[in-house]
């Protein structure tokens, strides 16, 4: 086996990357099938929902024809996909707006929550994971394991309620539900959708502080859940790499433990760590769905749960599809990215 020329070295990674992209496409197709299937299997009749209870039989049948409800399923699926490609997610039955407009309105709030939580949990979780791997079986290790155990057993919305009770109602340390106090709610122009940026830009005194105060609890809560996982998986990845032979040889070269960690173990574990962070981000999106009701956060989660209560089918499906797409894209793109980063193309 002779050395492959560097010119050939790109071929393997490209093949792996395209494999990853194909998987991504298949998964998205699966997601579309699932949402489509849900919409058709649901006992809720979309035509009846739209025409109301008092419409005549003729109007009802006309509506069925317009919606194409009596056509064979593959045809309906095709129309569904085509409509999606044009960004048409239907009209919400509760707000009367186009679902795509609704989603565009609410998504930034959730994205802001998830992003801030990810940053916080990564800033805390990664160093903790490195420390725990540095001294396995130590005190920190045990503490992390216990916290992780509790994190997997606590309902997040319940913890949110208790946190609101203590930190807001009882001790007045943070602001209450919602993104901003009423005083600012109507005076700040929400241009970017991010409450941090917009309150800062507004220049109103105390606006930014208020926004931060409202963000503190939900972000901290989401981050707390994520930190446990990040720490645990980072520790596992680092310990796994530390057992490899190249680490032994690096030490044999005379490398200090710090150098071994920074130049050898971390770069090799980077792929795993990036994957963990991406998985965490996707999970944070799901977690946001649960706590937005508790914190009256005007994001995708609250939109979805409100729509579920109101049996607002287009809104439910639209919101589910959006979260599903984010989920699949984050995981899929990370997969591709990791394959690209590894010189072995694995």
């Amino acid at each position: 086996m002779s050395a492959r020329a560097s010119g050939d070295a790109w071929r393997q990674p490209v093949m792996r990357v395209s494999g990853g992209l194909v998987t991504l496409a298949c998964t998205l197709a699966g997601l579309l099938l699932v949402t489509f299937g849900l919409s058709r299997l649901s006992p809720v009749d979309p035509a009846a929902q739209l025409v109301g209870e008092h419409a005549s039989q003729g109007v009802y049948l006309e509506m069925r024809r317009t919606l194409g409800l009596d056509e064979p399923w593959p045809v309906q699926f095709e129309r569904y996909v085509v409509r999606l490609a044009h960004g048409d997610l239907g009209v919400s039955l509760s707000t009367g707006e186009r679902v795509s407009d609704d989603l565009r309105r609410v998504f930034p709030a959730t994205a802001e929550l998830a992003t801030l939580s990810l940053v916080l949990s990564a800033l805390v979780g990664l160093p903790l994971g490195i420390l725990a791997a540095w001294r396995p079986r130590g005190v920190l290790d045990a503490v992390v394991r216990v916290l992780s155990l509790f994190g997997n057993s606590l309902p997040i919305y319940w913890l949110g309620l208790l946190a609101l009770f203590f930190f807001y109602a009882h001790w007045h340390l943070v602001a209450g539900p919602g993104r901003l106090d009423d005083a600012f709610e109507y005076t700040i122009d929400m241009r970017t959708g991010s409450v941090l940026i917009d309150s800062w830009q507004s220049g109103l005194p105390g606006a930014l502080a208020n926004a931060v105060s409202h963000l503190l609890l939900p972000v901290a809560l989401l981050a707390a859940y994520a930190i446990g996982n990040i720490t645990r998986l980072t520790r596992a990845a680092l310990l796994n790499e530390s057992d490899q032979e190249y680490v032994l040889l690096a030490r044999a070269k005379g490398a200090t433990e710090v150098r071994v960690l920074l130049s050898h173990v971390l770069p090799n574990a980077a792929g795993l760590i990036v994957t963990v962070l991406a998985l965490t981000y996707a999970n944070l999106l799901e977690g946001a769905v649960l706590i937005e009701t508790v914190f009256a956060w005007p994001g995708l989660g609250r939109y979805l749960t409100t729509a579920l209560f109101a049996a607002d089918t287009p809104a439910v499906l639209g919101g589910t599809l959006l979260i599903g797409v984010c989920f699949v894209l984050i995981n899929g793109m990370t997969d591709v990215l990791v394959r690209l980063l590894d010189p072995r193309g694995r």
């Binding site: 086996m1 050395a3 005379g254 200090t256 050898h264 010189p343 072995r344």
Partner: protein, 281 residues
């Protein structure tokens, strides 16, 4: 032995601490290595690899090392702390392993890994480092321009071994410990790599401790042979005298290797109930 001794080992023991107590892996072995080529042979599980790592201070709990004497170039290795070990590894003692695909860092290029070896131990400007890297690669029979940009998985087995040798010898160590360096190679490359190692060791007046399970190989390339069995050194003799050894275990190992002479006959099977260590100090 007219050469000055590089390594002195007396009563080296390595044990594993588990839930049930201490289990012995290496049982009080003693030997010396000078500026010569010594082989440490034995079956898998005899404790040879553990010995190699113990000599480099690379064993960690639950493995525990004890010795009466462990000296290298007159310095007492038993008193070494982490800082002394870090300084010694690569400059005094060097280690090469079996499979370069696993022993070299997969995500770093060859140049980086060689450069790192220099940067750890010496303060040189970049140009000087590059010069030394080129020289070292040439000494191991590689064309620098061809391998510097490659990643370990792009190297063939033989090239990977040469790179590993270059990396570990670039700081001029006095003793090279090679743990089964050719077991992952085909027969032709084995000879090449061993010949390369012998030549390097001789030209730099280094000592070589070659760990292997292949008696024919060590008979050809080493001056002296130490035979290990179940954690003890049971026999030691000049390589030239291997074929005529009187020790039962050595004779068994020697006669176990298949060759044209043994074709069609039954190979002897080791009698594991015998205590081959009987009679050893």
């Amino acid at each position: 032995m007219s050469e000055a001794r590089l390594l002195t080992v007396r009563g080296l023991s390595v044990a594993v601490r588990s839930g049930d107590g201490l289990r012995s892996v290496v049982d009080s072995i003693s030997f010396d290595v000078g500026a010569e080529r010594v082989a440490l042979v034995g079956e898998s599980g005899s404790g040879k690899s553990v010995t190699a790592r113990a000599l480099m201070g690379l064993l960690r709990p639950p493995l525990e090392v004890r010795a009466e004497r462990l000296e290298f170039l007159g310095r007492n290795l038993l008193e070494f702390g982490p800082r002394e070990w870090v300084r010694q590894r690569g400059t005094g003692l060097a280690l090469v392993l079996q499979d370069p695909r696993h022993a070299l860092n997969p995500v770093l290029r060859v140049e980086h890994q060689l450069d790192e070896a220099l940067r750890i131990h010496q303060r040189l400007i970049r140009g000087e480092r590059r010069r030394r890297i080129h020289a070292m690669l040439a000494a191991v029979g590689l064309v620098a321009a061809e391998v510097l940009d490659l990643y370990p998985h792009q190297l063939s087995g033989g090239m990977g071994q040469r790179v590993m040798l270059a990396m570990m010898l670039i700081n001029g160590p006095r003793l090279l410990i090679a743990d089964e360096p050719t077991s992952a190679l085909d027969a032709e490359r084995r000879e090449q790599i061993l010949a390369l190692m012998s030549e390097l060791v001789d030209s730099r007046r280094m000592g070589l401790l070659l760990i292997s399970h292949d008696l024919t190989q060590v008979a050809r390339h080493c001056d002296r042979v130490l035979v290990m069995y179940r954690g003890r050194i049971v026999d030691g003799c000049p390589a030239a005298d291997l074929a005529a050894s009187t020790h039962p275990y050595t004779r068994l190992l020697w006669s176990c290797k298949p060759s044209a002479a043994t074709y069609g006959t039954e190979l002897p099977v080791l009698d594991r109930t015998a205590d081959y260590a009987a009679g050893t100090p």
